[in-house]
Symmetry: C2
């Protein structure tokens, strides 16, 4: 049976393990985490089959390795596993920023392994294996970041992993990814943290806290995320984060000026635009654009793991030829990775 190794068994690593074992119980999942306690807990939760004694131990014999440790720890993990990786092994990760990680993978991992970056866009206020949940990725975006020279079968293995976890896969390059998540994920994190900090810092905090209701709670929710993760994010995506903080500060200033002006129509317009467009987005989902419509055929995840990267690649190409021929016969376009 194929083996999958998961290094790091927190909320994300633990949830991937649970989702994998539910969808493919026949796959052997080996897990390693910084503390022995976490590994044992993952074993008790049946998230993993094998409690490994080291990262290198976990990846031996594994055809897929998922690195779910903090971003800044990944470099060391790559170094630890480099010599133990099987030929053809596929390595992926789940970090919130991608450029730095792709660079480390290229520098450190051996040429006989294939690295494909990943970022499942899901989270919770709670961290750790206790919060792990097999449904965490259901219908959530899972960004896949292949390097320019990525092996096609390796990319398909990671696509299969995202699909098996119930996520919505999207392909992107590392720079695109990092600039986008700075806007929709890292900026909200900084804003929520600054908002909570400034209100908490007031001498009237005891009274403010009595009055605060669901609005304050929701707007500041992201401030309760892991500070280590926030640290790693802003260290590895600094320029994009600063760029978006500056854009946001300008927009806040625009709202301030409009409010200070007491011009009724302008005030109404500022709030109305945000309301109408947000309601539209929440009700109808993201705007449709040909380029961003990414739909993928279902990958045979198990076959990919079993037959190894080279063979899978050949098989996949063969299947593709057949599918293309069928599609041509039916007069349909093939929808695939752009």
């Amino acid at each position: 049976m194929p083996r999958i190794a998961i290094i790091g068994l927190g909320l994300i690593g633990g949830s991937i393990a649970l989702a994998l074992k539910r969808a493919q119980p026949e796959v052997e999942v080996a897990g390693f985490a910084r503390t022995r306690e976490t590994v044992q807990k993952a074993r008790r939760l049946k998230a993993i089959d094998v409690a490994a004694d080291s990262a290198a131990d976990a990846v031996r014999g594994a055809s897929l390795v998922v690195i779910a440790s903090p971003i800044l720890a990944k470099r060391a993990v790559f170094a630890e596993i480099a010599d133990a990786l099987e030929p053809g092994a596929v390595v992926t990760d789940v970090g919130s920023t991608k450029s730095r990680v792709m660079r480390w993978a290229k520098e450190i991992l051996p040429a006989h392994a294939h690295f494909v970056g990943g970022h499942p866009m899901a989270g919770k206020e709670q961290a750790g294996i206790d919060a792990a949940d097999a449904d965490l990725f259901q219908d959530r975006p899972w960004v896949i970041v292949p390097s320019v020279d990525a092996d096609e079968a390796a990319v398909n293995t990671v696509l299969g992993l995202a699909q098996v976890c119930g996520a919505r896969p999207m392909f992107m390059d590392a720079e695109e990814h990092d600039s986008y998540v700075a806007a929709i994920s890292h900026l909200p994190l900084v804003v929520a943290s600054a908002l909570f900090s400034v209100v908490f810092g007031s001498t009237a905090w005891p009274e403010l806290a009595q009055l605060a209701s669901s609005g304050f709670r929701d707007t500041t929710r992201l401030a309760s995320g892991s500070p280590e993760m926030a640290h790693d994010i802003v260290r590895t995506n600094r320029d994009n984060v600063l760029h978006w903080i500056d854009r946001f500060a300008q927009e806040l200033q625009r709202f301030r000026d409009v409010i200070a002006s007491e011009e009724g129509e302008q005030i109404l317009e500022a709030f109305l635009r945000a309301q109408v467009e947000r309601d539209n987005y929440i009700e109808s989902g993201p705007p449709r654009r040909e380029a961003s419509e990414q739909e993928f055929e279902r990958v045979n995840f198990l076959a990919n793991l079993l037959i190894g990267s080279k063979l899978a690649s050949a098989l996949q190409k063969q299947e593709q030829i057949i599918r293309d021929a069928e599609a041509r016969a039916e007069g349909k376009d093939r929808k695939g990775r752009p």
Copy 2:
């Protein structure tokens, strides 16, 4: 049977009507709203017993009047009902800002009626009678703002209303209230609207929208509130709102500087402080302080409505004397309004 009039049957007015009819079915609720359609809908939902033809019509014969119309419409509503108010009638409102409303009430309402400001701190993304919910105020703060010369029985009637709706009553003066809600309610509203606007305004919005997950959704939730309400809020609480926008902009700048510095410890500390204190607040609730521990004896709401303000006041005083005597006998302190 006593009559309660509700002017304005949106989310808040409608929810108060539903909560009232559930708790005190014997009370007659008369309702009026800007559109005939809303009034008829409220009647079909059994939120009100009487569909009034005008605000003046609704308040005739009412011992309690709840004004749940938009803040800037209240002045006109006060003028419309002034001549129709019964002697001793208690008038309250539910507006998000209080100083301006208290001033209008003093100017416009007749001396034989008693105005006590109110602000139930509850809301939803949806507006209107269709979103009304008898449980909306359950365990939520309901701020009561008596004027300096407020009639004690009138204050108790409004306290009773908050209790009947399941809310947690708190007493405050209008200036205190407006400065506090600017921090925990109006600032988050402006921040959420500016955050949504700046991300939506990006040329990459179609891609950003595809990627955005629950974090972006929650942080921007308040942007989906009513633009009219946002307008009225920032028009009637301008200086407090500007003050808090400026404080927040400074805090955001502090986060920006720390992130730009790449000083690991400082970055970690900034996020850690927000996380620890927010988790503490979410888990343990607001910090306890003698002055803010407001617990109130349950008001006999129906009796207050029935016997009219003067008599109720005398009766309440008598009951208080007895309770105080009992408390002294048991060696306990009376907990009440500070």
